[in-house]
Subunit: 730 residues, 2 copies
């Protein structure tokens, strides 16, 4: 493994991981010690029989830390070989596999002499698979938190402190991440995490253009420029198609590519047999789910929106300065609650759909979560742009309902003081700026600073608590050189698991702002460019310091988020066209007086923009598909080489065969003996079938040539002198 | 081969093909006899060295007929084996190939004992490949009509008369073609032709629904019903998605499936290296090409349309009864000329684009041809529906331009008599009925009856001509039993090659009428149902009697036409919505008085219909994708079985390994000797690394369990009495 590099002043335990592959955090509920003890014995036995060495130490608060490592190098090697062959069988790898080694195992070592090295990620992945695979497949069959293993709270690998420190240090002093940086992530944290960073890097690089162009557009064109909208849409198409290509390229470069019909990576077989019709019926529940999201979240947002407009723009009575915060408070209280509730429901629905593979499950879940996030992120802006501004004059008078409600509670029942209302055309711009700048900063804070602070506070509290039992703890300390290490492991055991989905969601939603609304404020991309530079580093920080080391799963794409990106890019063509049409005339009128919105013109611009988008997408897709990527070229070359080799082997066979085949000088040579033999056989069969007779006219190629030449000669001769060459041979 | 079944009264030559695989039609231009002779010698030598037996006979009008058959059964078998292995290498076949046979060839026979039988199509395809493949790959390298082989007019297999007779007879007495019929076609004419018939059969079966529903709609709903339009669109989506599925299914059932990145089937290697950027630049020429099509054909159609309206609906002067035919005459004269010109241009453009594979070339060509056909087939109806009816009142007065032109040529220069004009609302219906009924009948006539009649006339003329030289010909006749056969071969040599593209085009364009305009006349599908029953039989007739037997190429889909179908299906959602909106109010007004067309309402209905279509398509696609087809299930099962077998073999290895691996009772057993040995080593290294120390605390699983259990016991014990169990092992 790693980490033995620099041993610093904190002693060996603070840097070295003692070759530990995984830590199993084993809790012992005081009420179930007997069961926990029995289960613990089974745990160690299962691990040992799967080929792990184990050590156990005392952990925090009634828990044990079981340290696990692959006992022998041979086991690792055999596992690596096995997975690679399996990959090849499932079409995941292109290379021809070495022939399976004999039972003496000598070939295994030979295989390793030529094979690619085993990365840390591969080792950890295989170890994890070995821990979790069913026992009949050679694993230990440990499924955390489920059934027999309910005391196993988590199974996690340990952070490599030295690497993490170097990693963060390097990234925070670097302007631009390159492929080498991504490959480093892949070797340490697996393809799933690496794919996220590759996406982030690609997105960041692509943002440079809209940031520069957006800045220029902001200076020259201003808001709501159709030219900006067109360029922005084109950019989003190019980015999307480029990423689709890049994704496949990375998967191929990283040496494997899942088949679409991929099976459960844990078991290697399709386990759950489930009627597709039944699943289909359950999937139909997505429709009421989406409806529920719209009603619950949409209702909340619309209400808050209406209240906010009433209070800030219509209401002019007492407590106005406090009441302004009412919608914010309502949103802050209810939104997380509702979102959590609906996310929970989404998870349950997805479980009911009972997918065969983890990937399919995840895809379905992400789809539902995306609906949720779409509403919470974009509905506010949609309301301002497409309801408040065009229909404000009609709808705002209805907000009197608040006034009437409020009047009931006031003593006198006299009308509340209001001010004359008119549409605030800057509202949209302000909102977009809020979401693209303020919200990103807030998000950064909640994602990185809050957990860090929380952990600090938590630890201080714990320290105070444990100081009382310090004396008793002291004697439990296993050995002085492990103290530091065990303290660190306990800390890591308390951390959250890293969920890459959350980071993807954030980026996809961000892409949505750019694609859907950046025509309102062309500086959007500049803000995102800065944000994403920080984002990449803060996500790295999050992995390195704020979460358990992720299990290095493989992945061949960013998965279901790709569809979300495509959807947002397409929707952007519609919203941009609509925004440009609705607001391009408005921007010059500071008073917000309504202008003449023509329904057919609005619809025509949407229709036109959308179809131009579809055509452009079709063309860009065609172009991108034709440009070979380096990874695909490499794969093609590899496949081609393999095929060529095998075919050449076959060709050799053919050559040796051809010498005995028919030919000019070969088997059909006309000799007197052969002719006599032929005649004898001919009469023996009794005249022969007509087919035989036909092919016996001209014996061999030489005769055919002879006859043919005389037939050709006839053409140049005058008709009358033609000899009957056809009869020549009978 | 075949045909030796029933020898009828005409003698053996009229039924038997004398085991001929291919006929090479070799022309001898009287001016180039010397070159022709030299080339002929090379031809026969090349064929012989590739393993063919040859016979030559005199043909029509200064030409030779070279008969070719695979000389040995062993050559065929080795070719079959070779292709199957190649298929497997290219991922075309799923089955694990038998291990390549040794050089003694005994395995080949063994392989055949278990392998699937060789169909006639496979034999013919391999023979053709062997004739055309380059010499360095073991073929004869004969490329008809090109360079060295410019005298080779064609290379074609012979029709199996007996089979053809049975085939046509069977189909003409059958209501419905089933999979067995399609498989028969596949075995005889290869997958490319079989795919066409499979598509036709599938389309025919699917037409039953819109025919029945359309009839009901015609009775109950009448024209321009939104309900009919919605059902029709839904049907086209279901049909399209079903066919996409069926296509893959068939490819898999037929035992192979091309990779998307397929290479030239003729050479097996990518031959043409060509910059994709250069190709892209040339592909951009498609834009001016499409523009040219629109201008040339569109201009012609618009002009004829305008003239027709002027003459039939405005003009009322002399010669009206003759002038009515003017637009028809103009179209009949210019349309085929222009189309031929543009098709030629399309072919040249496609050649300039210089594709790597025949498939890619064909796809690009079909795309261009589709643009042509789209204009010639649908533009007329589009003009009536979306220009003439809504804008007729505005545009028709401009038709006075014809009047003014005509006035110049009349003596007196007095205005031509006209009648008062009003929109003819039945024009659209009449036009749709014309295209869906009359045009189909006309098409049938030009496709089947005309070539047949032409051939009859041609033959009679030829007979008269050759009767004069009968006496001289008589002595050239090779042998009496071959006379009939040779006459037949000469006839077949004169036939056209069968081009499946033309038949596909017809069906796709037909599907377009149904999808785009059937809302105008709901009986459309009924007409097509009848037409397609005949079409399948007439296409069979065309293959059997009116063209050379097609070379049995493989195919894994209907190719580029799939995109055309998808496009038409999508466009149907737009035109149907527009037609319903524009005409639903009109149908009740016989006088054609204009009604209030609102732009926004028209656009809204289009926008709405299109997006409903896209959502429905998304859903249907999702559903269809989830329903496994029998072919895919079979393939999955096969792949799974293969993998399982191989993995089990590996698992056996593992079991034998595990017994020597670590475990409860295995290698880590603690014995006094082992401990002593360990201690000796420990001190020898100089205290050992911390990592070693860490893993030496608990020696083996048994000790870990022991320590763990005591740690668990601590939890239930009071804090003070805890023993330090961690130290137990040092």
């Amino acid at each position: 493994m790693a980490g033995s590099g620099s041993v610093d002043k904190d002693g060996p335990g603070s840097q070295s991981n003692f070759d530990v592959d995984y830590v199993i955090h084993y809790t012992i509920p005081p009420t179930e010690t007997a069961e926990a003890e029995a289960s613990f014995t089974q745990l160690i036995e299962a691990l040992a029989s799967a080929g792990f060495a184990t050590e156990v130490r005392n952990g925090h608060k009634s828990s044990l830390l079981v340290f696990v490592k692959l006992a022998s190098d041979r086991l690792l090697k055999s596992q690596v070989y096995r997975t690679r062959v399996q990959d090849w069988l499932y079409g995941v790898r292109a290379e021809a596999p070495a022939p399976p080694p004999d039972h003496d195992g000598k070939d295994l070592d030979e295989y390793y002499a030529h094979a690619e090295p085993v990365t840390e990620a591969e080792r950890l992945r295989l170890a994890y698979l070995l821990i979790t695979k069913p026992r009949n497949e050679g694993g230990a069959g440990i499924t955390p938190r489920i059934g027999q293993w309910r005391f196993v709270k988590s199974v996690f690998p340990l952070h490599d402190r030295a690497f993490n420190r170097r990693w963060i240090k390097q990234w925070s002093t670097k302007y631009y991440l390159d492929d080498g940086d991504i490959n480093l992530i892949r070797d340490r944290f697996g393809e799933r995490v690496a794919f996220y960073f590759a996406f982030l890097q690609s997105y960041f690089a692509f943002l440079l253009f809209p940031a520069a162009f957006g800045f220029a557009a902001w200076l020259v064109l201003g808001q709501f420029s159709w030219f900006y909208a067109a360029v922005n849409c084109l950019w989003s198409v190019v980015f999307f198609e480029h990423w689709k290509m890049k994704e496949v390229d990375l998967a191929v470069q990283w040496g494997f590519k899942f088949e679409r019909e991929s099976v459960d990576p844990v078991t290697g077989e399709i386990v759950k047999v489930y009627s597709p019709y039944k699943r289909l019926a359950r999937q139909l529940l997505q429709v009421p789910f989406a409806a529920a999201c719209v009603v619950v979240l949409g209702g909340l947002i619309v209400s808050c929106f209406a209240i906010e407009i009433f209070i800030t723009e219509v209401y002019n009575g007492p407590f106005k300065q406090y009441l302004t915060f009412l919608p914010t408070i309502l949103l802050t209280v209810f939104m997380p609650t509702f979102t959590a509730l609906l996310t929970n429901l989404a998870e349950r629905l997805t479980e009911m759909e009972n997918y065969e593979t983890h990937d399919a499950h995840q895809a379905s879940f992400v789809q539902k979560v995306f609906v949720l996030n779409f509403i919470t992120s974009y509905l506010g802006i949609f309301l301002t742009a497409f309801v408040y501004v065009p229909f404000g004059k009609i709808l705002v008078p209805y907000l009197d309902v608040f006034q009437l409600t409020a009047q009931r509670f006031t003593a006198e029942g006299k009308p509340l003081p209001t001010k004359s209302w008119q549409i605030n055309p800057n509202r949209l711009t302000k909102q977009v700026i809020y979401f693209t700048v303020t919200a990103q900063v807030v998000n950064f804070a909640t994602e990185v600073i809050v957990p860090y602070a929380k952990r600090k506070v938590f630890k201080t509290v714990e320290k105070v608590q444990s100081e009382r039992s310090e004396k008793t703890m002291d004697q439990v300390k296993d050995s002085p050189e492990e103290t530091e290490f065990l303290r660190r492991v306990m800390d890591e055991a308390e951390l959250d698991e890293y969920d890459v989905t959350i980071d993807y969601r954030e980026m996809v939603i961000q892409f949505g702002y750019l694609s859907l609304f950046s025509v309102v404020w062309p500086l959007t991309a500049c803000s995102f460019l800065v944000n994403n530079w920080v984002e990449a580093r803060s996500d790295a920080m999050k992995i390195a310091a704020n979460s358990q080391r992720p299990i290095p799963w493989r992945a061949d794409s960013i998965g279901p988020w790709l569809n979300a990106l495509g959807f947002l890019s397409w929707l952007g063509s519609i919203t941009s066209a609509a925004l440009v049409y609705l607001f391009h005339a408005c921007k010059d009128r500071a008073d917000g007086s309504p202008w003449d919105i023509r329904g057919w013109a609005l619809l025509l611009s949407i229709l036109f923009a959308e179809h131009v988008y579809l055509v452009v997408q079709f063309v860009v897709r065609g172009i991108v598909r034709k440009l070979d990527s380096p990874g695909l070229q490499k794969e093609k070359a590899e496949r081609f080489a393999m095929r060529k080799q095998l075919l050449e082997r076959m060709a050799e066979r053919d050559v040796s065969e051809e010498t005995t085949g028919p030919g000019m000088s070969g088997g059909e040579k006309i000799t007197r003996e052969a002719l006599e033999e032929e005649t004898r056989r001919f009469w023996a069969v009794g005249g022969g079938r007509p087919e035989q007779l036909f092919w016996q006219r001209q014996r061999g190629a030489a005769e055919t040539i002879q006859v043919g030449r005389s037939l050709i000669a006839e053409v140049s001769l005058p008709r009358d002198s033609k000899p009957s060459m056809g009869m020549l041979t009978l």
